[in-house]
Symmetry: C2
Subunit: 362 residues, 2 copies
Amino acid sequence: MGVRLELSDDLVTLTRAVCDVPSVSGDEGALADAVAAALGGVGHLEVLRDGDAVVARTQLGRATRVVVAGHLDTVPITGNLPTRLLDQDGEAVLWGRGTVDMKAGVAVLLSLAARLDAPSSDVTWVFYDHEEVAADLSGLQRLVEHHPDWLAGDFAVLGEPTAGGLEGGCNGTLRALVRLHGVAAHSARPWTGLNAVHLAGEVLRRLEAYEPATVSVDGLDFRESLHAVLISGGTATNVIPDECVVTVNYRFAPSRSVADASQHVREVFAGHDVEVVDAAGGARPGLDHPAARRFADAVLAVTGGAPSAKLGWTDVARFAELGIPAVNFGPGDPLLAHTADERCPVRQIEQVHAALRAWLTA
Amino acid sequence: MGVRLELSDDLVTLTRAVCDVPSVSGDEGALADAVAAALGGVGHLEVLRDGDAVVARTQLGRATRVVVAGHLDTVPITGNLPTRLLDQDGEAVLWGRGTVDMKAGVAVLLSLAARLDAPSSDVTWVFYDHEEVAADLSGLQRLVEHHPDWLAGDFAVLGEPTAGGLEGGCNGTLRALVRLHGVAAHSARPWTGLNAVHLAGEVLRRLEAYEPATVSVDGLDFRESLHAVLISGGTATNVIPDECVVTVNYRFAPSRSVADASQHVREVFAGHDVEVVDAAGGARPGLDHPAARRFADAVLAVTGGAPSAKLGWTDVARFAELGIPAVNFGPGDPLLAHTADERCPVRQIEQVHAALRAWLTA
C-alpha cells in the first residue's frame, strides 16, 4: 500500500507530504510511485515512466513547449525527518531533509502540473532520480539516452534551490589530482630521502596565491574558484613520505570549455604531475534567448530582483548539451542544501509557485 | 619439538640458524625457547626468563658488571627468508630478514656468551622481545618493571646495527599533530568557508624553511631533523575542508629533554594548534664514562674508526633512564634495516665478534 499525494492540497501540506516520503538517492521508488499515481489521475496529462523517473506532459498543440524539471532524491537523512513547521521570527519555515534540495520545488511543480490544464505553452513536467550521486547514475542522463524525445522543448526550468531568485546557467566543475613524488627514507635520517609532503607546500602556495576570475557571460557574472578539497600523504610515522596527493576542484565559467579548463589547471600547477580525473562543462545562462527572456520578464514581475549566475553545477548543463536554454529557479537557500538544518521559508515556496503560474498562464 | 641452536657453530651457520627461525614481533616464542635451551646448557651461566625475554649471566664476583643486549624480534618477513649466503663483488654477504636488525648481533652475543667462561667483568646477556613495535609492548621495558635487578650493571652495550662502528647515545624522537581548523562550505562557493588545507601551506612553509641543528653532545655530533610524516585533510570532493592534520616527527639531540623538545616544536608552529602525541627522550653518548672509555678503546683497537652519534632512537635510552651508560655496536648497515633487501657482510659479523671478545677478555 503506497503513499498517496493529494495534489490539490495547499503547498505546505503537499511539500511536507513529499518530504516525509524518504527518497535518498537509490531509494526513490516509493516517492516515484506516489508521483506517478497522483499525476496519472490528472486528465490533461500524459504520464510516462522510466525506472524511478516520471514524465508528465500536456499535448495541446501549442507553438512552444517548455520543460520544467526537478529531482526526487535527497542526500542522506540525518535525524531531520519528519518535517516540522516552525515559526522563525514571525515567519513560517518548513524544516527537514529535502525542504531546500529540492522537494519544495517538486511540490510546486506537482501542484502546478495538476492545476494548469491550459498553459500558454505545452509543458513537460520531469521528476527524476539519482541527482545527488555520481553522474553515471543520473536519472536525467538516463532519460537523455533512453527517451531523448521526452525532453524535447524550447526552454527548460530546473527547480533547484535559488532562494526564489532567477539563476542563469551554471559554472563547470573539474577535479584534478596533483601528485608530488618523493623518495622514502627512515625519519631518523630524512636527508637520505625527499619529503613529498614538503613538496606539496609549493602546490598549496600556488592555491593561496591564485586569484580567481569573475567572468561575465551573457550579462551574468560567474565567479570562479580553485581550491584543494582533499590532501593525503605518508604511510607511517617513522617514514619520510614518498607521495603526497592534492585533489583540487576548479569551478569555471561556462564560457570556458572543459579542455580550456583542464589546460588552465595544468598551467597553474606547471612543473607538477597533474591528472584531470573528472570534469563537466557549465551552461551559459542563455538569457538572451527569447523564451528565456519571456520567462525572466514573467517571474521577475512577481519576485522582483535581477537574474544572477548559478555557481554550483546543475543539470541545466545537460539541457545546454541538448541545445535547450535552461535556468534555475526554485525555493530554498542553496547554502542550506545538504545541511542538517535544511529549512525553507513558506513564503518562498508560495512566491515561486505564483511566479511560475504567472509565466505559464501569460 | 623445538628448533635447536648449536652455539659452538661458526658465526655464519649460527647467524643463519637464528635468522631462519621466524620471530616477527609477537611471535618470538620459538626463538626464545631455542635461545633459553642453548644457554641452559652452558655451565658458567645462570639463565632467567620472563615471557619471551631470556637473560643469562655470569656470577664470578668481578668488580664490574656489563650488560650486553639484543632483541629477538624482526619486522614482518617480505619473501626474504630463508637466508642466503651471497658473493657480492668477492665479499661474502648474508641476505635475509633479520641479518641486519639484529639477528647477526644476536648470534655474536650467543656465541660469546657460550665461549667466555672467564670474562674480565661479570656479564649479563639479555635477549628480549617486542622491540620493533609500540613502546608499551617492549620486552626490555617489561624487564625494567618486573626484574630491574636483572638489568643492573655499570655499562651496557646494545647490539643494534651500526655497520660495525661505535655509535654513542641516540637522538630523542617526538611526534606531534599540527591541526588546522577551517570552516566547511560547498566547493562551488568556497568564499563562504575557510579552507583548512590551504592553511596547511603555512605549516609546510615553516617545515621547508626549518634549519635543523647539529648538536655536539659529549663530543659527538647529533644531527637533528623535523619533518612531516603524514598529512590528511578533506572529506569529499565537493566540500571545502574544515580540518587538515599534519603529523610531524622531530628527532632531537639527547641534550634536550622531552619538555624542551615539545616547547621547541610549539615555537616552530606558534599560532597553530599543536598536540604532542608521543615522545621518547634520547640518550647521551656517555663516552666520558670510564667504563665506556675502556669499551671504546678496546673495540676501536680492533675495528679502527671513531665513535659517532646514533641518530635513530634505540633502547640505549632505556639504559640511560636506569642511569647506565650505554652504546650501540653491532653488525649491519642501519640504512638496510627493515628493507626487503636486508643483508650484512660476514666480515662485519666476525669483526664485531672479535672486538667484543677483545673487550671482555682485556
